[in-house]
């Protein structure tokens, strides 16, 4: 398909951010980064700051929205939440993944047999 490795990683990171926001509700940048670190075992984030590139991309596509609010310790933080079109996109991508992994799984099984 011609996408470089970094682009594939970018797309995956964006997907994870969307999923995180959908599962956990509105979250600030630090919260999102922490969660992704935990799940991906630090494979996706070189440093936590790279989350912000993803957040900007997702905002530009209208899949998330951000607004300032107060954090747990009454600190000012910018919270992000997934939008309706973001949810749609997430569902479409998830479906895509299911299909691809299903096909690949079948191919691999037949080869073994």
């Amino acid at each position: 398909m011609g996408e470089s490795k970094s682009e594939i990683l970018q797309g995956t990171l964006d997907l994870m951010v969307l999923k995180t926001l959908e599962a956990m509700g509105p979250l600030h940048g630090y919260g999102i980064a922490r969660r992704i670190e935990q799940i991906s075992e630090e494979a996706l984030l070189i440093n936590q700051g790279t989350i912000y590139a993803s957040l900007v991309r997702l905002m530009q596509r209208g899949w998330i929205s951000g607004s300032w609010g107060a954090s747990e310790n009454n600190r000012k933080a910018k919270y992000y939440s997934i939008t309706k079109s973001g949810k749609k996109r997430l569902a479409a991508e998830a479906e895509n993944w299911e299909r691809i992994s299903g096909v690949i799984g079948r191919v691999l099984r037949t080869e073994r047999g």
């Binding site: 630090y30 700051g49 790279t50 596509r61």
Partner: protein, 875 residues
């Protein structure tokens, strides 16, 4: 640092704080925690740079990028751009031109001070309302209002007046306004040179002063500022010029049914009531304009007026009631033109809509290529919003460029319209392309651009990149939904076109009917010369009669002239003089009288105009000095149904009641205009008693010729001149021209309607052609296969035709329904045809179906005639 930068820095700062706290919870010291946090977050400067880059350029720069890109695209598709710009220029230009007329005539408030407070006051005699709904104002009544009515700041009256200018170069008849001294002040208008009138100049003997209009001052006195104080001779009497009005001053050509001249040369004060203007319920000749006091409602003012009117009626002691009517000045000036102009605007707006539809379809046709490009850009990460913006920029830019050319077209269009427009439309001198109109043009262009761009933009932006890129390498098939939309647009277009054509057809039919109306006299081979006898030398009946007799005798000697006569006012030139006719022995002659038009004529008039005699005889020598009249058939049927009126008496009201003997009945003549039914007519001979000064001060001399009337025009002119060179000839033309001029307004309307209908048809035709051509091209592969498999060409042709005509048929049906409704609205403009004229409707339906079928057939045939193998291989 921009605000966005600041915001992101704050966000990073808060993130850092949270990381630091986490580290501190793990047991690090504050300093260590902070350092570890920074490492884990990443370089702040780097992050800020990356963030700024990702955010992209500010709006203005993206906009400029879009515009530059758009220009490149437009240049690449030069053909499409040219067609689009041209159609847009015509559409927007036409709308701008018409709007400038609508704005100048209808929308812009009158150029007077506080025009909302200005009202026209008319008098109403309830007993006369069956024949005359309302009357102009009467001089003594006005004087009483002025003295007693407290609801108005100022009141004034005005009437049109013609006076002959002599003594300085050519004798010329001037058109002016005789008005209260305070009229100009009431309107809030002041002379540019000199002074306005003084109140005392309204009195008799003090009124030999005039104020000139700017146009007359420039033409006659060449803008000489020393004209103030100069004396000019009007109607033989010296008048002093005391002021000149500014060029911005406009006086209406008509206020309701009171007409002034199209060209006004001077204003003159009232000079007291003339001898015939002194009855309380007598001459109703003046237009009364009044300025309502602030805080007083029109209803209150009217109530006060009616009380005063009741008192006047009692004082007049004539068994008649008197009330008043108040109408806003603006409505009275503009009212009659409103309907026609609004109709015009609607028609031209409809044409513009059709242009939009065509362009939208054109852009949609380009959509597949655009969609592929858009899909790639989206897949590479472009925001769809940006794409929509870029597409809209393209259509807006097209519209604005087209609009620019359109404004240029409108300049010429407005000039042509104002020149060609019949004199009936008021305030034409105030029509111009000014800031308001330019604003309208720009806003309209933007709206148009948005309108036809929104559809393709939405279409392109809602593409799913995966689906689009997966589809065939070269073509992208249209979804059914899009095809439905395009067909819907075509249907809408055809509907509008049909409605316009029906309206144009009805108007054209009306025009033909009016042209075919029999006016009741012979129009061919008659020449008419309007003369106006100046007061000096012609104050006596004998001198006037002598003038006419000499002229008629001289005219009869011209070779080619069969007969000659005069009449006080030519037929087809308007209402003229009206009187009441009743039968002797009626209890209340004044109030039971029928209203009839009357004209004074010389003995040979009926013969000259070939008006048939139906009973009795024409006037002759033996009638000299006797009170005899000739009546029209219509009047005879009303007053003496079933009997012959010849030899019977009737009572006419000329000043006092006059017993007159009817000696003849003539055929009906369309005296007022071609469209109104022939009025009740009474003809008075030139030798009737004393009360009607037989030979009038102004009349039209009519001459019947055996050949072309233009041939004798010169001779007629010299006969009049040799009789008296001081008598101005106001007009000299064949009766065919008089008839033609009455048709001017209607002809103008009809030509415009046909123009719009034709444009709409052409555009709709192009639209249908485009859509069918496109869909056929899309299906060229499928069609090629069918042909190879043996399908008949004619069968395929039929299929394509059928599919192409479906939206046309629906559009036609919708258009006919719309036209049925619209026809009702313009009923008042029609003549001789009903709003649901079957012939017109079927004719238009036939035209639309034929043109639609042709537009479908041509592209279909072209494609089918190509080698099918080429089409298949091409895929």
């Amino acid at each position: 640092m921009t605000r966005a930068d600041e915001e992101f820095t704050a966000e990073l700062g808060s993130h850092l704080e949270m990381l630091t706290e986490e580290n501190m919870r793990r047991g690090m010291s504050r300093e260590d925690a902070r350092r570890a946090a920074r490492v884990r977050l990443g370089g702040v400067e780097q992050l800020r740079d990356a963030n700024r880059e990702l955010r992209g350029l500010p709006l203005l720069e993206t906009l400029l990028q879009d515009i530059r890109y758009t220009f490149r695209m437009l240049r690449k598709n030069a053909g499409f751009t040219a067609v689009a710009v041209l159609t847009l220029a015509v559409g927007i230009g036409a709308n701008t031109a018409i709007f400038s007329m609508v704005d100048g005539v209808l929308l812009r408030p009158l150029s007077y001070k506080d025009p909302g407070q200005l009202f026209v006051i008319r008098e109403v005699v309830p007993q006369w309302t069956k024949s005359t709904a309302s009357l102009a104002a009467n001089f003594p009544d006005f004087q009483i209002w002025q003295k007693e009515c407290r609801a108005f700041d100022q009141m004034s009256i005005a009437e049109a007046i013609d006076m002959d200018l002599s003594g300085a170069g050519d004798a010329e008849e001037l058109h002016g306004v005789r008005a209260s001294a305070n009229l100009l002040d009431l309107l809030g208008q002041y002379p540019a040179l000199g002074r306005s009138f003084l109140p005392e100049e309204d009195q008799a003997g003090h009124d030999h002063v005039v104020i000139l209009t700017d146009a007359f001052w420039r033409s006659r006195f060449h803008g000489d500022a020393n004209v103030i104080g100069k004396t000019i001779t009007l109607d033989g009497e010296p008048h002093v010029v005391v002021g000149v009005l500014p060029s911005s001053f406009h006086f209406p050509k008509a206020i309701a049914s009171d007409t002034f001249s199209a060209r006004i040369d001077f204003f003159k004060p009232l000079g007291g009531p003339r001898f015939y203007e002194q009855d309380l319920i007598g001459e109703f000749d003046f237009t009364a304009i009044a300025r309502l006091k602030q805080g007083v409602t029109p209803a209150q003012a009217l109530a006060e007026l009616n009380v005063i009117q009741a008192r006047i009626a009692k004082q007049a002691n004539e068994k008649l009631d008197l009330t008043a009517q108040m109408l806003p000045l603006e409505v009275e000036i503009v009212g009659p033109a409103r309907k026609g102009l609004v109709l015009l605007l609607a028609a031209v707006g409809a044409v513009l809509l059709i242009v939009c539809v065509n362009l939208a379809n054109l852009l949609l046709a380009q959509a597949p290529g655009r969609m592929r490009e858009a899909a790639i850009r989206i897949a590479l990460g472009a925001a769809p919003g940006r794409l929509v913006r870029q597409l809209l920029t393209e259509s807006l830019l097209l519209a604005l460029i087209g609009g620019g050319f359109g404004i240029a077209l409108a300049y010429f269009g407005v000039r042509a319209l104002v020149d060609a427009a019949p004199l009936g439309i008021p305030r034409l001198d105030e029509v111009a392309i000014d800031a308001r109109v330019l604003c309208f043009a720009v806003v309209l262009s933007a709206l148009v651009g948005g309108l036809f761009g929104i559809l393709p933009a939405w279409r392109v932006s809602s593409t799913d990149p995966h689906k689009t890129l997966k589809a065939g390498a070269t073509t992208t098939t249209e979804g059914r939904r899009v095809r439905r939309i395009r067909q819907g647009l075509i249907g809408f277009e055809v509907g509008l076109c049909t409605a316009l054509l029906v309206l144009a057809g009805l108007l054209t039919s009306s025009l033909f009917h009016v042209i075919r109306v029999n006016p009741g006299f012979a129009v061919e081979r008659v020449l008419a010369a309007d003369v106006d006898l100046p007061p000096q030398g012609y104050s006596q009946v004998q001198t006037r009669a002598h003038f006419y007799d000499t002229v008629l005798a001289g005219a009869k000697t011209i070779p080619g002239v069969e007969s000659a006569a005069w009449i006080t006012l030519l037929p087809l030139e308007g209402q003229g003089s009206v009187t009441g006719i009743s039968l002797p022995g009626s209890q209340d002659p004044q109030n039971e009288a029928l209203h009839a038009n009357f004209r004074g004529v010389s003995a040979d008039y009926f013969r000259t105009m070939a008006i048939p005699i139906l009973a009795g005889r024409f006037f002759n020598e033996s009638d000299h000095g006797k009170k005899v009249v000739v009546v029209s058939q219509a009047l005879a049927d009303r007053l003496w149904p079933g009997q012959s009126p010849v030899g019977r008496e009737c009572i006419a009201q000329w000043g006092q009641l006059q017993n007159s003997e009817v000696i003849g009945v003539v055929g009906d003549v369309r005296t007022i205009n071609l469209e109104a039914p022939p009025p009740l007519m009474v003809y008075v001979p030139d030798s009737y008693g004393q009360e009607i000064p037989g030979a009038p001060g102004s009349a039209s001399i009519v001459v019947r010729t055996s050949g072309n009337p233009d041939v004798v025009a010169g001779s007629v002119r010299s006969v009049i001149h040799s009789t008296d060179p001081n008598v101005p000839i106001l007009a000299l033309r064949p009766m065919t021209q008089v008839v033609s001029q009455t048709l001017d307004a209607r002809r103008f309307q009809t030509i415009l309607a046909l123009l719009f209908g034709g444009c709409a048809l052409l555009l709709a035709c192009l639209g249908v052609y485009g859509v069918v051509a496109y869909s056929v091209e899309q299906r060229s592969f499928e069609l090629g296969i069918r042909v190879v498999l043996g399908a008949q060409q004619s069968r395929l042709l039929g299929l394509i035709l059928h599919q192409g005509m479906v939206p046309v048929a629906f559009g036609l049906a919708g258009g006919i329904a719309a036209a049925a409704v619209a026809g009702r609205l313009i009923q008042s403009l029609l003549f001789g045809v009903g709003a649901f004229d079957a012939l017109t409707f079927t004719g238009v339906a036939a035209v639309v179906l034929c043109v639609g079928a042709a537009a479908c057939y041509l592209p279909a045939r072209r494609t089918l005639s190509l080698d099918p193998m080429v089409a298949i291989r091409h895929e």
